[in-house]
Symmetry: C3
């Protein structure tokens, strides 16, 4: 997304946020410094890397632009030094994570459309880019991915990616489309957390 | 496998079967509607997507032909509305799953041979295509993949893929080769379930 | 790494070692013969396959050169017949695993540099090649990857890959660079196991 400067900055913010969330889980599982850095790096760049693998754009951005890896590792280091005080920062971390979700969902959708994918496939690739890092984090912690359990997480990413795809189809200018779509995901995610929104479950006997 | 019409239909059937198996696990784990759809889609297209990544045929068929994603999501929706009544359908779901296993194992092997892989590598890619979706389903549910625990699952996929590779090498016509190989996997899988066939385990002290 | 004959042999040794480690876990989890072979093959070739996917060098070496798969499967068969006696071989298996870690970390770094990646990205790809197989083994066993929990595992891979990248940058001849870097990883890993070296953990409240 080097063509949109706004995106460059958001991308780095999102990578930092996801790196932090990976490191937080690593600390809770009492991993050592190295495990923290590995999980921070993996979670920070996994979504974008899956996106680039599926688009055949290899080597992926995460290996071509090492700033992203450095940002994710910095998040890991920051978490290591904050240690247990990180728990007190739960709220800002959640806000960063919601911002990262929006940025990656929209940037994934954007890149997929530029590679000529269908809108439906592009929206789904956007959702995967947004939720991929967190899913890997949970799989590596031997837990059911939170994206599957948590209400309005993938759904928020879907909304942002779908709105961006619609704006793109309608030929609207890029900066407002991107900003609006990212904000939508962010707002949905934060509001659902704040108001405890739930999605329906299948009825059980 | 767009070149064999029979395969197009079988592919869709297999995707539906695997989507259903993903959704069934999601419902058992009490995931919400969105989690069910995500797991159904992931399980439905994962095997074919891994196959296309390894062959370098990117973006993968699952992103180029969105019918497959729609079919997998329909399976998720169907499972959501059936809810706990799905348990009563255990047997037809198992039959569908066995059919999907055969279809994907043979189609993976076929595509690998067309990309010029060795027969041995093609057979293994076929097995991976067949069992990949189910393995992802179990990993995302934080369980040991059933393909590793269950007797005669990957082995049935292997038999079908190997027979197809042999027919291909012998230059036999495609439609009977494909049908025979798919049926072999299907029959082995169903029979092993029915008669409780076991494979040997390593001796323990 | 076909261009360095020394590497060809080491690669096969590493694949055998990782295949054995996959099979050992499979036997402990009481999987059947087929599960053992699948896990041995997956663990043996996973690191190199991830490396080739990320470099866009597809189909990956593991599918083009089926010797690697055969070696990994032989390791699975050997483990199956050794059965519980394998526990007595814990020490040689650990040495083989340390050798495999070094070989794959350095070969991954080498191949990434040849594909024109940055040294930092190349070192990280080397680490991933080294630890990828073991991580997959643990994820498929529904456990937190040992690479995250175990002190001085990824760190040893990092040291070897970084030293190799430095030698490559300095233009040193290949055979001593490769040998030195592989030996460094091997020695660090074995020494850390022997002397119980620990890396720091984040402070907890």
């Amino acid at each position: 997304m080097g063509d949109i400067p706004l995106f460059g900055m958001l991308d780095i913010l999102g990578t930092f946020a996801f790196g932090l969330s990976g490191a937080t889980v690593a600390i809770r599982k009492e991993l050592d410094l190295f495990g923290i850095l590995v999980l921070a790096a993996a979670v920070g760049v996994a979504g974008g890397t899956m996106r680039d693998i599926l688009l055949g754009d290899l080597p992926p951005e995460s290996l071509r632009d090492t700033r992203l890896l450095l940002v994710a590792c910095s998040a890991g280091l920051a978490a290591f030094f904050l240690g247990s005080r990180l728990e007190a920062l739960k709220r800002p971390v959640m806000l960063l994570d919601a911002a990262g979700l929006g940025v990656f969902a929209v940037s994934g959708c954007h890149k997929a459309l530029e590679h000529g994918l269908d809108p439906l496939a592009a929206v789904l690739l956007g959702v995967m880019t947004g939720v991929g890092g967190g899913a890997l984090r949970d799989i590596m912690s031997a837990e059911i991915p939170r994206v599957l359990r948590e209400d309005v997480y993938a759904a928020a990413a879907l909304a942002g990616a779908a709105v961006y795809a619609a704006c793109h189809w309608a030929g609207l200018p890029q900066v407002p489309s991107v900003s609006g779509a990212v904000l939508l995901t962010f707002a949905l995610r934060v509001a659902s957390e704040r108001f405890g929104w739930k999605l329906p479950r299948a009825p059980r006997s």
